[in-house]
């Protein structure tokens, strides 16, 4: 058995222990969906970081910097700055006025059934797309990391899927939270260690480090040996659309993070809005420190390992593990690999619980059964079943797509839908008296559809490949892209806002306007907010 496999198994054993412990404390809806609202501020902050920093951050960004230098680092900035929107605008009102989901806040003064149905659909789309991207990535990655132990893509996907189902079905939000906390601590520890080792390699001299970063040599596509300054912008984002694509990504991040259902549900796990606020700050400290350290991970991999070696040893996603191997040998490689695995599990568990909470609470109880639980405990039971269904579906789709599927666009899509549909509608419902059901439904629908449509006509789907390109890597539609950007945010966000505003202005809803004051007072003061429950 390889060291990597042993470390994976240790992590699995710890998380199953957490799940067993949590399963005995997850009776009742508030315990199951919101960890009894007793998570401490720092704990929730660490869990938000664990929920948010996916394998795409840990392995992906290190890989982008290793290959394309500065542009990869610039790419990582928006992932932190986005939390200011969460902190300043969304977290506290949401905690004050809601119960389990973002739709709670929308349903407050709007017609609950249409609004919840749309919000639930949007949540399910965002969560499952994001989950499928993670699962395909996870399968390919775990198969690569555990190649020596004979783990294949299929085994890896099924394994990850079963674990996330077990965490969520048996342990609910409490188990999910602690899996995320353990993961975030491991991720930070691994990143700090790796950064220190990189600096030790350069004799703790920033001058020597950045000097090496300014002269990175590798063989380019044509096979010629080139030397580039990796601190210079432009290696990834090239004219004519590079800058615009990055701005568009920025729009999706800055507004989308505050509309991601799996992040928003985390704020219901703390006792009050003040704790929610502190947890965002904790999350920002961790997330920011992590992304600053991608300087060492990414540039370290570019200089110490070099992209020629990375290309022949698994590709850019392996940059951070290969860096660990180069600096401190196979045991450290195994440790960093186990962290990558932990990272994936914590994120998919968070996505699963947000999808199932929305299905059970918004769709089942409030849309189908008009807000009445027919018998006590039904909502939790439905959630457990739907966690199983969502997990099984994600496993099936990931296996169908296979390890070579290009799924990066699914993450862009999740952020775009969150930014163009969820965010405008939450914002307007809290701050605009005139806002109504028609506006909310129009905003959510247009946000979702315009993001989908723009992605389908973007370079992610459309392109003309030369005949030499392998079947799996070919664009789905062999034609020139109709929309030049990979990120639809710059168009879809204004469209979402516009639809929400026009939909509102076309109809009047006196009850929504007259209940605005109640929502305004509740969301801004915390009067009557859901309280923590004692065990």
């Amino acid at each position: 058995m390889s060291t990597s496999l042993i470390m994976f198994l240790v992590f699995i054993a710890i998380t199953l222990g957490i799940t067993y412990w949590a399963s005995r404390r997850s009776a009742g809806a508030s315990a199951y969906f919101a960890a009894s609202r007793q998570i401490k501020g720092w704990q929730n902050g660490v869990a938000v970081a664990g929920d948010y920093m996916s394998a795409a951050s840990f392995l992906g960004i290190a890989g982008i910097i290793a290959y394309q230098g500065y542009d990869g680092f610039m790419f990582s900035v928006g992932w932190l700055v986005a939390y200011l929107t969460v902190l300043l605008v969304i977290a506290e009102p949401l905690r004050n006025a809601g119960k389990y989901t973002m739709a709670d806040v929308l349903a407050y003064r709007l017609k609950p059934r249409p609004v919840r149905a749309m919000a639930s659909l949007s949540t399910l789309v965002v969560s499952t797309f994001y989950m499928i991207a993670q699962m395909v990535g996870a399968g390919a990655l775990v198969a690569l990391l555990l190649k020596d132990s004979g783990i294949t893509f299929h085994t890896a996907v099924i394994g990850v899927g079963i674990l996330m189902i077990v965490y969520v079905v048996f342990g609910g939000m409490l188990a999910t939270t602690w899996v995320q906390i353990v993961k975030a601590i491991l991720l930070m520890a691994g990143t700090i260690l790796l950064s220190i080792l990189v600096m030790a390699h350069f004799g703790f001299s920033f001058g020597a480090f950045f000097d090496a970063v300014s002269h990175v040599s590798y063989h380019d596509k044509t096979g010629a040996l080139v030397t580039k300054d990796f601190l210079t912008p432009g290696l990834r984002y090239k004219p004519p659309y590079g800058a615009l694509d990055l701005i568009s990504l920025g729009v999706a991040l800055i507004f989308g993070t505050a509309g991601l259902p799996h992040i928003l549900v985390r704020f219901y796990t703390v006792p009050d809005a003040k704790t929610a606020r502190h947890s965002v700050v904790w999350a920002m400290v961790l997330i920011g420190s992590f992304y600053i350290m991608t300087t060492f991970l990414g540039f370290g991999a570019a200089t110490v390992v070099g992209q020629d070696y990375i290309k022949t040893h698994g590709g850019n996603n392996m940059s951070a593990p290969l860096l660990a191997q180069a600096l401190a040998g196979n045991v450290f490689f195994a440790f960093i690999s186990a962290i990558a695995f932990a990272t994936i599990l914590a994120v998919v568990a968070g996505l699963t619980i947000s999808a199932t909470t929305s299905f059970a609470h918004d769709f089942w109880t409030n849309v189908i059964h008009k807000g009445v639980e027919r018998k006590p405990g039904e909502e939790v039971k439905v959630a457990r079943v739907s966690a199983f269904v969502v997990g099984a579906a994600a496993i099936a789709i990931a296996i169908l797509l296979g390890p070579t599927a290009n799924v990066a666009f699914l993450v862009a899509l999740a952020f775009a839908v969150a930014a163009s549909g969820n965010f405008p509608v939450i914002l307007l419902s809290i701050f605009w008296r005139r806002f109504n059901t028609a506006g909310a439904v129009a905003g959510l629908a247009v946000g979702l559809l315009s993001s989908l449509a723009l992605i389908i006509v973007s370079p992610s789907f459309m392109g003309i490949d030369p005949p030499t390109v392998a079947a799996a890597a070919r664009h789905l539609i062999q034609a020139k892209p109709l929309f030049p950007l990979e990120n639809p945010g710059i168009v879809s966000v204004p469209l979402g806002f516009l639809a929400a505003i026009i939909g509102t202005l076309l109809s009047r809803e006196p009850s929504a306007e007259s209940r605005f004051n109640e929502l305004l007072v509740r969301s801004n003061t915390g009067l009557g907010a859901e309280k923590a429950v004692a065990h």
């Binding site: 500065y70 680092f73 610039m74 900035v77 932190l80 700055v81 939390y83 200011l84 902190l87 300043l88 605008v89 119960k99 709670d104 349903a107 609950p112 920033f206 001058g207 480090f209 950045f210 300014s214 300054d229 601190l231 210079t232 912008p233 432009g234 984002y237 590079g242 800058a243 990055l246 701005i247 920025g250 800055i254 003040k274 606020r277 502190h278 965002v280 700050v281 920002m284 400290v285 920011g288 992304y291 600053i292 409030n366 008009k370 807000g371 009445v372 007259s514 209940r515 004051n517 109640e518 305004l520 007072v521 801004n524 003061t525 915390g526 009067l527 009557g528 907010a529 859901e530 309280k531």
Partner: protein, 114 residues
């Protein structure tokens, strides 16, 4: 309404309107707006300056400063600016909490008196 039934504090429509119109609540909203609106505009402008400058003034951004360049320093500064704004917000929010506490207590007293 189903969601209203589970709320921990209930009162009449006219009472909500009264609280919303009260001087205390108006003060709270004004205090919040005074911090949140400028802070939001500032960080959005500061953040988008990065891709705009990198995209449209790449030569200027590549200017060397010591071992690094303006582009790297500006990207790095984004992290610290975000942290500083978050810190200032937490400080300002202590005032929001104080103002909110008065409003909540008054509302609960008014209800107790009914």
């Amino acid at each position: 309404m189903a969601e209203a039934a589970v709320k921990n504090f209930q009162t009449t429509q006219s009472e909500w309107d009264r609280i919303a119109a009260s001087k205390e609540f108006q003060d709270l909203m004004a205090t919040k707006r005074m911090f949140i609106v400028p802070a939001f505009i500032f960080f959005v402008v500061y953040y988008f300056a990065l891709p705009v400058l990198v995209g449209y003034a790449p030569h200027f951004m590549s200017t060397k400063v010591g071992a690094v360049n303006i582009a790297y320093l500006f990207a790095l500064s984004q992290f610290f600016v975000a942290w500083v704004i978050a810190g200032l917000y937490v400080k300002a929010a202590n005032d929001f909490d104080r103002l909110s506490k008065d409003i909540i207590e008054k509302a609960q007293d008014a209800k107790g008196a009914n």
